[in-house]
Symmetry: C2
Subunit: 410 residues, 2 copies
């Protein structure tokens, strides 16, 4: 397949790479080359532009129904009053089938064609979520959540059940495109034994791990009371849950220097969720600093801490909060540039999946076709302005086609 269009991506976080009026050749779903000329048949999208599809590194499928609810509370009471109650309903697999389908549709509508998703503790419902994602052909990781302590009686597992169900979940899911991910909810919800056993499962099966880390000061304090480890990150690290296999830690707002050291590992990714961090009054993560240290950072919508599945709103929020950070928290930290935010939403998070999130040779051709005529109108605007205008003022209606491995989906 050859497509003629304008290709905008971030090979490097510091600037957009813009290939204007070029021809991209896709073979077996991967990008073979971008050329100036073409003497074969091609599809012509040269009035529009294409970008790598978004990589959503952190969201909770069973919280889709809670978008916008409970934001008068901070993390821990919000979990107890809103989140856990809703998640417990996903024990009912018919309930799960109905609403996970809405979630998956919304995820794809918003352009996230590679996603890393929390399910619930309910293996069978998580399997339904996996089936729905397979049917829609989007690359994803789904976690069966583990919760063995400090959880309400209607949403908790015994240690044995938690491990047994996780092993079954891993055995049941061997698909190439939609894969399992080991998912201890966070240190508060999972006992030390179970944490260790989960890392054994991850390492044996070479599976990635996801959890939450340093999101909220009360959470950090609670973890320090529950565990004797030096700090929150080391609770995971000391139990082989941070970086032995690929690992995503959501939030990472309140990290000390020792913790930051532990994150400086090519296997470790931070999922930055700036809207969630505002909604739950958590704070602003020092993302510019992490990027400058070479730590992997991607973006996550974190529904329903985040208020909807829009990666575009998340991208702009990541820039906006970084400006407030540089005014109110640390004047020496520069704000995030739009290219850096775009990079996090594509290639930065994409690294978690492999060669994903860019239009370089060998990368998966997971892409969005953008029609920006309601922004550009009839004006002759350069592509750098067009990508910035798109980032800041567009929504999913501007995404007119979605491709996974070169195949149009949705």
């Amino acid at each position: 397949m050859i497509i003629k269009s304008n290709f905008i991506f971030t090979k490097d976080k510091d600037e957009f790479t813009i290939e204007e009026n070029k021809y991209i050749t896709v073979e077996d779903g991967k990008i073979k080359e971008i050329k100036d000329d073409c003497d074969k048949e091609y599809i012509d999208y040269s009035d529009k532009f294409m970008i790598p599809s978004f990589v959503n590194l952190h969201t909770h499928a069973p919280q889709f129904l809670n978008r916008g609810l409970g934001y008068d509370y901070e993390l821990l009471p919000w979990l107890n009053k809103y989140t856990f109650v809703t998640e417990s309903k996903y024990k009912d697999i018919e309930f799960a089938r109905k609403y996970h389908e809405k979630f998956v549709d919304d995820l794809i509508r918003n352009g996230s064609l590679n996603s890393v998703i929390f399910g619930t503790i309910h293996r069978k419902s998580d399997n339904i979520l996996i089936d729905l994602l397979k049917k829609r052909k989007v690359f994803s990781y789904v976690g069966k959540v583990n919760m063995t302590m400090n959880s309400p009686e209607y949403l908790v597992e015994s240690k044995k059940e938690s491990i047994d169900e996780t092993i079954k979940f891993v055995e049941e899911n061997k698909d190439e495109r939609v894969k399992p991910i080991i998912t201890p909810r966070f240190a508060i919800s999972v006992d030390s034994d179970t944490l260790k056993k989960l890392s054994d499962i991850a390492i044996e099966n070479n599976l990635p791990i996801q959890s939450h880390l340093d999101e909220n000061l009360d959470e950090v304090k609670t973890v320090s009371e529950l565990f004797e480890d030096d700090n929150y990150a080391s609770v995971y690290y000391n139990r082989n849950l941070l970086g032995k296999t690929k690992t995503i830690m959501a939030h990472c707002i309140y990290m000390n220097d020792k913790e930051i050291k532990l994150m400086q590992n090519p296997n470790v990714f931070i999922a930055h969720c700036p809207r969630s961090n505002m909604n739950l009054k958590s704070g602003i993560a020092p993302i510019k600093k992490y990027l400058d240290l070479g730590i992997n950072v991607g973006l996550g919508t974190d529904v329903s801490g985040g208020n909807n599945e829009s990666m575009l709103e998340e991208i702009r929020a990541s820039i906006q909060v970084s400006k407030l950070y540089s005014i109110y928290v640390d004047k020496n930290t520069k704000p995030i540039k739009s290219s850096e935010a775009f990079y996090m939403a594509t290639k930065g998070g994409g690294k978690f999946f492999g060669k994903v999130g860019s239009f370089e040779k060998g990368y998966d051709f997971n892409a969005l076709l953008i029609d920006d005529k309601n922004i550009v109108f009839d004006r002759n605007i350069d592509l750098l302005d067009r990508i910035n205008a798109f980032i800041y003022s567009a929504d999913d209606r501007n995404i007119v086609k979605r491709f996974v491995l070169g195949e149009e989906i949705y």
Copy 2:
């Protein structure tokens, strides 16, 4: 006209007033009553809900084409490098006709049916904007902008021209629904004589005034170098431009106590534009404090400091930044509640227009019909959750009808 629906509004900023399954009677465009029963013919929207339409207290029509551009700069360089260049193009009235039409359409699409708008210095183009707004039947104020100093040669007026054109503009526009507003750009752009003469015009014609105030620290410093007045607010106050007639001041981030005192006047309104204030790295205005002092506050999208015309995104941003304010600036200031944000976007800004922005008796029936089935699905959710979910996760597609004085428009 009688409509059966669920009516959600904020009589008071501290809580939503919810009239479930009620009948509203509209006479001559105004609300007569809301009743429990009805024995006459009515329109049935009981599967949806209605809210007062949004009041957009501050936006710039000629910056519509710049959405998303130049946010690597702060206010003053951004004005010089991006804004002024684009505004100067509106000297061409055919250019203005074409793009002001797009702007007006976008404004209404986003549910702003009462708006206060900056034009440019070009009277004829501003008149075109007024005509477009009249045709679409939305209540609005349009300002012919005054700029007599510290402005580029391609976007500046002589003192005489500035006043003469303003007088003509006022004489030409006597419509009841779309009215002129006196609009000195900001103290940096307008000399002291012209400021005084503009207030004479405002007072003689009983016209309101709009400008910018305390948006950015470099701006505040520049004003203090240009004027000998005690502070930025008093530059306006001492020239009868703050509160003699109804006045909107956009931003008000960096106010000292003396300035805040000047704002405590029932004629004075603050237009809070939190997204613009992030995009241009201006800061966070202490809005909760202003609300508690009884100062009038409304919301403004402030395109193109603000990145699009979505009042919904502005509402959520107003809550989000208030949470960051309470973490990083003043721990004693509480965040804004969703009812307060909604109030600012409706009744708070609506006061500038009169009885606007609420569903109380005697108020203009300017309203939006909301279809939230892509949020609620088939669940039985109470209306308080529905309004919060709407505020946080909806967009203009959820607005399915728009009414001005009881008449459906758009």
